[in-house]
C-alpha cells in the first residue's frame, strides 16, 4: 500500500516543456483519475510514476521511498496499457506468468497465484490461447491479470478502456471499481473522458497544458470548480459561460469589475413561460434551436442575445414552444476573474438572496 507524491515535477522533451511545477499527492488506496484533453500530459505523468519516463526535475515518492532513479520493475507498480501490450508470442498463461518468473517466484506458488487471479478475471478457460485468439475484452482482462498477479501497491492504467465498445466499456468500469475495492491498492487511472472520470474516480485530477487545474472529489469538482477550465471540462453539456460585458448589456445584471465571466450549469436553468423575472432569479428570453432527447433527460440548445447556451431538463419535452424564458437562480451562478480563476467572494450566497427577497433591490 502506498501513497504517491509528486513534488515540483517538470518534464521537458528536448526544449519543449510539457509539464511544469506539478505537485500532487495521490492518497494511499484511492482511485485517482487523471483527466484532461489530449496532449495535456496525463500519459507522461503516469509514465514518470512508472519510471518509463524520467522527469527533468522534481521528486517522485511512492510509499516512503523516493523512486527517482529506481527502475520501473522495482517501484512496486504495475501498468495496464491502452493497447494492452500483451506479448504476442506467449500464451495467456505465459503472459501473466512472465513477471513472476522474472521475480523467481517458485513454480508451485506461481501456479496458485495464477489460478486465483484468472478465476477472478474469468480467464481460466483461455490460459493456453495466444492473445490473437482473444476478443478485445478478453485481452483487457489478460492485461489486468498480468498486473494483478504481481500484487503491486499501485496500479497505473493509461486509457485502458478506450479500445472497447461502449457496452463492454461500462461493464469494465464497474468491474474495475469492484476490483479496486477488493484489492485496496492505489489506482491511478488516466482518461480523456470526463464521464469516465466522474463515474470511476473517488478523486479526480484535472489537467490542462501540463498543469493541474483542480484535484478534488468528483462532486466537489462539479459543485465547486476552481476555475473556468474545470467548470467547462466537467459536465455534459458543459457549463454555460457568458462574459460580464454581455451580461451587463443584455440582462442589465450588475456585477463587480473584477468578474470577467459568469457561468451556470445547464441543469440549473429552468425554462418557463413566465414573461416576468422571478425574484432572486436571472431571466433570459431565448429561442429553442435544437432538442436532444436522451431518455430521462432532454438537452435543449437555445439562442439568446448573449449567444447560444444549453439547458438540461428532466421534465416532459416542450413540444411546441420555440420562444421560452429561462430562469436561473442567482445562487447558481459562478463568477470567474480575468485569469479564469473563481471569484467566490463576490458570488451571491443564500443569505444575500434572502435579503434580496425581503428587501427588493440587489446591488
Amino acid at each position: 500500500m502506498a501513497q504517491i507524491m509528486l513534488k515540483n515535477i517538470e518534464k521537458r522533451f528536448k526544449q519543449e516543456k510539457v509539464i511544469e511545477g506539478l505537485d500532487l499527492t495521490i492518497e494511499d488506496g484511492s482511485f485517482t483519475v487523471l483527466v484532461g484533453p489530449s496532449g495535456c500530459g496525463k500519459s507522461t505523468t503516469l509514465r514518470m510514476i512508472a519510471g518509463l519516463e524520467q522527469q527533468s526535475d522534481g521528486q517522485i515518492w511512492i510509499g516512503d521511498r523516493c523512486v527517482n532513479g529506481i527502475e520501473p520493475g522495482k517501484r512496486n507498480v504495475a501498468m495496464v496499457f491502452q493497447n494492452y501490450a500483451l506479448y504476442p508470442m506467449m500464451t495467456v498463461k505465459e503472459n501473466i506468468e512472465f513477471g513472476l518468473v522474472n521475480r523467481k517466484m517458485p513454480k508451485a506458488e506461481r501456479e496458485k497465484v495464477i489460478r486465483e487471479i484468472t478465476e477472478i478475471v474469468g480467464l481460466a478457460d483461455y490460459l493456453h490461447k495466444k492473445p490473437q485468439a482473444l476478443s478485445g475484452g478478453q485481452r483487457q482482462r489478460v492485461a489486468l491479470a498480468r498486473a494483478m498477479v504481481k500484487s503491486p501497491a499501485v496500479f497505473l492504467m493509461d486509457e485502458p478502456l478506450s479500445n472497447l465498445d461502449a457496452k463492454l466499456r461500462s461493464q469494465m468500469r464497474t468491474e474495475l471499481i469492484q476490483l479496486h475495492k477488493r484489492l485496496g491498492a492505489t489506482f491511478v487511472f488516466v482518461t480523456h473522458d470526463q464521464v469516465e472520470a466522474m463515474s470511476m474516480g473517488d478523486r479526480i485530477v484535472i489537467m490542462d497544458k501540463g498543469r493541474i487545474q483542480q484535484a478534488d472529489s468528483p462532486m466537489q469538482i462539479y459543485d465547486d470548480p476552481d476555475n473556468l477550465f474545470t467548470a467547462q471540462f466537467i459536465g455534459t453539456p458543459p457549463m454555460n459561460i457568458v462574459t460580464r460585458s454581455k451580461a451587463v448589456e443584455a440582462w442589465d445584471y450588475q456585477v463587480d469589475e473584477s468578474v470577467h465571466h459568469i457561468g451556470f450549469r445547464p441543469e440549473k436553468a429552468v425554462m418557463t413561460m413566465d414573461k416576468k423575472a422571478a425574484v432572486g432569479k436571472l431571466h433570459i428570453p431565448a429561442r429553442i434551436v435544437t432538442r436532444e432527447t436522451l431518455g430521462a433527460e432532454i438537452i435543449y440548445q437555445l439562442e439568446s442575445t448573449v449567444g447560444t447556451f444549453y439547458v438540461k431538463s428532466f421534465l416532459k419535452p416542450l413540444e411546441t414552444a420555440v420562444e421560452v424564458n429561462v430562469s436561473v437562480s442567482y445562487t447558481d451562478l459562478f463568477y470567474f476573474g480575468q485569469d479564469g480563476q473563481r471569484v467566490r467572494a463576490l458570488e451571491p450566497t443564500e443569505v444575500q438572496e434572502r435579503l434580496v427577497i425581503a428587501g427588493g433591490g440587489y446591488a
Binding site: 519510471g51 518509463l52 520493475g73 501498468m79 506479448y87 508470442m89 512472465f98
Partner: protein, 276 residues
C-alpha cells in the same frame, strides 16, 4: 478487372508461370538426371531424360574421389559457425541501433551500411594479409572469422526490431525482465521470420562459397565442398559429367533440406513485409 474473370488472361498468366518455373526447374532436373546416368549415356545424342539404368554408384565414386567427408564436415562447421557468430553479433547490434540513441550511433550505423556496398572481392587481399599475419591461413578460422557479422543482417533485423511496439518492451521492463531477456524472449521471437530468412541466405551463401576458401586455403584439411566438387572436373580424360553432377547433388541436398525446414517462415517474412 481481376484476372480470374478473363479466361484468356488467365491462360497467359499460368503459361507465364509455367515457363518461368521451367527455366528454373529444367537445369535442376537435368542435374538430377545426369547424376544418375552412366558415362556413356551422358554423351549420347539425342540426350535422354530418364537413364536406362540408375547409377547410384556415381555418388560413391564422387564421394570417394577425394577426402569428401573432410570437405563436407568443413562446410558444415564453417556454415554453422558463421551463422551462430552472425546471429550473436547482428542481434546485439540491431537491438542497439533500433532501440537506443547514443553518441555516434548514427555514424556507426552509417559505416555499417557503407560496408554493404563493398564486395568481398575488393577486400580479400587485406584480409588475406591479416589472416596470414595471424597465422590463420589454411585453417577454418580464415573462412569463419571474416564473416562473423553481416551488415545486411544488421540492417534487416534493425527494421524488424523497430517495428516492435515500444509498449511491449516497457511492459517487460515493468515485469522486471533483464535486458537479455527482453532481447531473447520478446525481440527475437517477434523478428523470427526475418531471422529465418537471413539464416537461409547466409547459410546458402557460405555453403556454396567457392571464392573465399579457394583464396584462403591450399590444403584439403581446410577446404570445403565447393572446392572439392570443382576438382571433380579434373578427372583424367575429359569431363566426367555424371560424377560432377553427383557431386553437385551432394552439395545441393543439404540446402534443400534446410530450405524445406525454413519455408513456412520465409513466406511469412515476405508476407509480413508486404503488409506493413
Amino acid at each position: 478487372m481481376p484476372i480470374e474473370q478473363r479466361p484468356l488472361l488467365k491462360v497467359l498468366h499460368y503459361l507465364g508461370m509455367v515457363l518461368l518455373m521451367a527455366a528454373f526447374v529444367i537445369p535442376f532436373l537435368w542435374m538430377i538426371s545426369t547424376s544418375l546416368k552412366s558415362y556413356a549415356e551422358t554423351v549420347i545424342f539425342p540426350p535422354k531424360w530418364i537413364p536406362s539404368k540408375i547409377m547410384w554408384s556415381n555418388f560413391t565414386a564422387a564421394w570417394e574421389s577425394g577426402p569428401f567427408l573432410k570437405y563436407f564436415m568443413n562446410s558444415v562447421v564453417v556454415s554453422i559457425s558463421i551463422l551462430l557468430l552472425q546471429f550473436t553479433t547482428i542481434i546485439l547490434a540491431a537491438y542497439a541501433f533500433a532501440r537506443y540513441r547514443f553518441k555516434g550511433g548514427n555514424l556507426l550505423f552509417g559505416i555499417t551500411m557503407v560496408t554493404l556496398m563493398i564486395p568481398g572481392q575488393l577486400i580479400f587481399l587485406p584480409v588475406y594479409l591479416l589472416m596470414s599475419k595471424w597465422g590463420l591461413l589454411n585453417t577454418l578460422f580464415a573462412l569463419i572469422l571474416p564473416f562473423s557479422s553481416s551488415a545486411f543482417g544488421i540492417f534487416m533485423l534493425r527494421q524488424s526490431f523497430k517495428q516492435v511496439q515500444e509498449e511491449l518492451i516497457e511492459a517487460a521492463r515493468l515485469d522486471e525482465a533483464p535486458e537479455w531477456k527482453i532481447i531473447l524472449k520478446i525481440m527475437v521471437p517477434m523478428a523470427r521470420p526475418t531471422l529465418v530468412t537471413f539464416a537461409l541466405f547466409s547459410f546458402i551463401a557460405h555453403w556454396n562459397d567457392y571464392f573465399w576458401p579457394l583464396v584462403m586455403t591450399t590444403t584439403d584439411a581446410a577446404r570445403t565442398l565447393p572446392i572439392g566438387i570443382s576438382k571433380l572436373r579434373e578427372v583424367d580424360g575429359g569431363a566426367a559429367w555424371h560424377i560432377l553432377m553427383a557431386g553437385n547433388m551432394i552439395l545441393v541436398i543439404p540446402i534443400l533440406i534446410v530450405f524445406s525446414l525454413a519455408q513456412r517462415h520465409i513466406i511469412k517474412a515476405f508476407v509480413y513485409s508486404g503488409v506493413k
